[in-house]
């Protein structure tokens, strides 16, 4: 099951997703990138049905490109979020896309990052920090405690790793590998591909 985490920092957006792609109990791929770039400064993190995610993200990317070519200007993150939500909302009662998304973007005009939570029913909310999938169960409290809007990049990365460590520790299905990406004024960059290994005891205690 997918885990996506994201939050807004001082002048960046940090997003992470696990790199598993699976079907029922089988792991099909362990280097699956769930953080899809929509344009130079926006990422759509997808979770849920893989096929639906691919199709839906493709649709959004192509329409955002078409807007850019037609109007010679890029859409803001807010506009893309609204457009995406509209697509999900019209689809839900006809041919639903089983995807839950986190949309992160940096707008050069406001010089600010923003994050949106979208789900397959067509809800959308602007958030400062959040998660999709099972990660949401564990990560919410950590971010509540430690997030603040002036997080600089190093502290932000540390906070992200704290979240991912908790996901690895508590989620019964192994999802140790995560891909972390950052969006700032320079665009999208891959920060790190982390393998989280929480501390484990090496010995089996003997019973007396």
């Amino acid at each position: 099951m997918d885990s996506l985490v994201g939050f807004v920092g001082k002048n960046y957006v940090l997003m992470a997703g696990d790199t598993n792609a699976g079907r029922s109990i089988m792991r099909l791929k362990d280097d699956f990138d769930k953080l899809v770039p929509i344009d130079s400064h926006k990422i759509l993190a997808k979770s849920g049905e893989i096929g639906d995610g691919n199709q839906f993200c493709n649709l959004i990317i192509r329409n955002v490109s078409l807007y850019r070519i037609r109007n010679e200007t890029e859409l803001t993150t807010k506009s893309v979020a609204h457009y995406t939500r509209r697509q999900l909302a019209t689809a839900i009662r006809k041919n639903p896309y089983s995807v839950n998304l986190l949309l992160g973007g940096y707008d050069k005009k406001d010089q600010k990052g923003s994050l949106y939570y979208l789900d397959y029913l067509g809800s959308s909310k602007k958030i400062n920090y959040g998660a999709q999938g099972y990660a949401a169960l564990f990560v919410g409290s950590i971010l509540d405690r430690f997030w603040n809007e002036d997080l600089d990049f190093e502290d932000g990365l540390e906070l992200m790793k704290k979240c991912l460590k908790e996901v690895e520790k508590r989620l019964i299905i192994g999802t140790r590998c995560f891909l972390i990406k950052m969006i700032n004024s320079d665009g999208i960059s891959v920060v790190e591909k982390v393998m989280i290994n929480s501390e484990k005891k090496n010995e089996i205690e003997e019973e007396n």
């Binding site: 329409n63 037609r70 010679e72």
Partner: protein
């Protein structure tokens, strides 16, 4: 019996009169030139002189169809908007289905097919537009294509459409050489336009398409400098004679 009413009707001598009238409309439009160099493509257009109170920046004749393809046109501006819109949509549609960026010939064929469709349909008239399409093909070679209202298209080394098509084409035929570098290509484009455009360099727009790079519009001062060099050269030649 008038054979120029409905475009679906052939005239007795085998002409589609409406299509030929559309070509006449193109000949009334402002000039557009395209030149292919060794690894560069240059488009030059004559800008229609804007009225005093009009904002000149809103009149754009060289447009981007996709990140790697540009086009310009001669003829009815409003008609060209339809073609440009359809072409832009088709580019994204192609990428949606095939994940690859569209090919220059592919989109040219699409635009030409659209133009032909409107010469063989009920209740519509042909597009009064000829287009010049530039881009790099899958092997990385620069390509220049031209379409016209009849739906014909072909690839060119250098071509011209619009008002001053004849004199500019003659000039290009005389002065074009293969494998020109960027500087030579730009100069040839500007030179071919400067003779025919009224009020000189202020009404010329030049765009350069380099491989894997976004389109670049040449600045006003650069165009003015090159035009000045031509005029000085001309004066020198006249003095020598």
């Amino acid at each position: 019996m008038s054979y120029d009413r409905a475009i679906t009707v052939f005239s007795p001598d085998g002409h589609l009169i409406q299509v030929e009238y559309a070509l006449e409309a193109v000949k009334k439009g402002t000039t557009a030139v395209g030149v292919k160099g060794k690894d560069v493509l240059v488009l030059g257009v004559e800008k229609k002189s804007t009225a005093k109170l009009q904002d000149p920046r809103t009149v754009r004749k060289i447009v981007q169809i996709d990140d790697h393809i540009c086009m310009t046109f001669a003829g009815l501006t409003a008609d060209s908007r339809i073609l440009i819109n359809k072409a832009r949509f088709e580019c994204q549609s192609y990428k949606y289905y095939y994940e690859d960026p569209i090919g220059v010939e592919y989109i040219t064929r699409y635009i030409a097919k659209t133009q032909q469709k409107y010469t063989q349909s009920v209740g519509v008239r042909p597009f009064g537009v000829s287009t010049l399409i530039v881009g790099y093909d899958s092997k990385g070679f620069p390509k220049l294509y031209q379409t016209d209202p009849s739906g014909n298209f072909s690839s060119w080394k250098a071509s011209c459409i619009g008002r001053s098509e004849k004199p500019v084409k003659e000039f290009l035929e005389k002065n074009y050489v293969d494998e020109m570098d960027e500087e030579q290509t730009v100069r040839l484009t500007i030179q071919s336009l400067v003779e025919v455009v009224e009020s000189g360099e202020k009404n010329i727009d030049i765009a350069i398409m380099r491989k894997n790079k976004p389109i670049e519009f040449l600045g006003r001062t650069r165009i003015a400098d090159i035009v000045k060099e031509f005029e000085e050269e001309k004066k020198r030649k006249e003095e020598e004679d």
